[in-house]
Amino acid sequence: MEIHRRKKIEIVVESGMVPDVVEWLVAHGVKGYTTVPKVSGFGRQGRRQTEEISRVFENTLVIAIAPEETARLILIESVERLRDYAAIVYLSDVEVARPDHF
């Protein structure tokens, strides 16, 4: 079986921004994504928690897989697009078996 190289894009972002983020990914031709809601942790914006009434301190993890060129463009654009929001964006190498899905 042939294995194909792709980039995994992981975006930990405040939950209110998820609709914007997925719209942006899709606009870049990303064919699918996975969201993991209610992820907590700590970072530059302080503690990010999930049991919180206004939901402004809550994060969601968005995962997508795309060709390297697309992923790099998304990474570059993320600097401006997510500048004032709680967000972590990073890429990593992955291997997939069905290249037409990504």
């Binding site: 405040e14 209110g16 921004m17 914007d20 302080g46 503690r47 928690q49 049991e51 919180e52 009434i53 206004s54 939901r55 402004v56 301190f57 004032d84 929001y85």
Partner: protein, 327 residues
């Protein structure tokens, strides 16, 4: 003064407020007490529906009256109250223009839970209120956001606040948010079915209401105190603002109630609405539209300081003043 103290004392000894205090104490001693999120959400939907139905029923009983004038007043209040809050924050140099604008939007909007608690305060005293207050509350939630964003855009420049298409999306999200849909929907249902229709749901919507409110306020006590504890952005000046601003806004509420010709219950409730500050809808909107502003300030002030103040002291105080005004 003695009368106000005795009302405040009676309010503090109500099961609902004591549950709120219990939640706050639990958070203070770092208890692992938690109301599961799904339960809290279910309780919130129940309360919104019940309070909407009660308001609609009250309107059906008392008739239309000055519905249009009341709604227009609610919108005008919500648009204008943030201007006062912003002016106060800037005058005492408590915050920069962007944070001040974000905070001011919260103080022009409303807290539904504060309103619900005030309605129960009136019910415990057998004081009727104008049903239109529920619709006024719904009308007051959003306009303040527009004013807050406008105030911010004066210092940031309009482009920094929002791209136009996102602003439209934001307003749609706020207007269609679940609380408002259930609240207004309940209001219309209560008004449409009238007393005979409400009889059918009375055991669920009325009889057990106070017990449900106890559970909800227990959760709110936990949430408010945890928010207060986790904040590192508060200054004495900001805390004083969060305690004084409700009083200033309540004064405007009293004047508006007089213009509308409200009775004792309506006056106390409108003052409470003006005095309350949003901690659900407006923070979410500000976070999206004005990400430069610090949520650690605006959420903590409205949820951690103003909300407990209103629940414990503000509501009986506004009621006592409304009694005086009613003669």
């Amino acid at each position: 003064m003695g009368e106000i103290l005795s009302l405040a004392g009676a309010n503090l000894l109500s099961p609902m407020v004591l549950c709120f205090v219990l939640g706050a104490v639990a958070a203070l001693i770092r208890s692992d007490l938690e109301i599961p999120e799904a339960v809290a959400k279910g309780l919130a939907i129940y309360l919104m529906l019940a309070i909407g139905m009660k308001g609609g029923l009250a309107l059906a009983k008392t008739g239309g009256g000055n519905v249009a004038a009341s709604l227009a007043m609610a919108i005008v209040l919500s648009f204008s109250l943030p201007v006062l809050a912003y002016a106060v924050l800037r005058a005492v140099r408590a915050l920069g223009p962007v944070d001040a604008a974000a905070v001011s939007a919260h103080y022009g909007s409303v807290s539904i839970v504060t309103f619900v608690t005030a309605v129960e305060f009136l019910a415990a005293r057998g004081t009727p209120y104008d049903g239109i207050l529920v619709a006024m509350m719904a009308a007051m939630e959003t306009p303040a956001i527009v004013t807050g964003l406008f105030l911010a855009s004066r210092s940031l420049g309009a482009s920094a606040v929002k791209r136009p298409q996102r602003r439209a999306k934001l307003l749609r999200e706020v207007l269609a948010n679940g609380s408002i849909v259930v609240l207004v929907g309940g209001f219309v249902i209560g008004w449409a079915v009238g007393p005979s229709g409400m009889k059918k749901v009375e055991p669920f919507m009325v009889d057990i209401y106070n017990g449900m409110l106890c559970l909800f306020l227990l959760d709110m006590g936990l949430v408010a105190m945890r928010q207060l504890r986790s904040s590192h952005d508060l200054t004495v000046r900001l805390i004083v603002f969060a305690l004084v601003m409700p009083l200033l806004n309540a004064a405007i509420g009293f004047a508006a109630a007089r213009l509308l010709g409200f009775g004792l219950g309506g006056t106390a409730l409108l003052a409470t609405l003006c005095a309350s500050a949003s901690y659900i809808a407006v923070p979410a909107a500000m976070r999206l539209a004005l990400p430069q502003a610090r949520p650690g300030i605006y959420v903590t002030l409205s949820l951690g300081v103003t909300f407990p103040f209103n629940v414990a002291i503000g509501i009986p105080l506004y009621f006592a003043i409304a009694e005086r005004l009613a003669g």
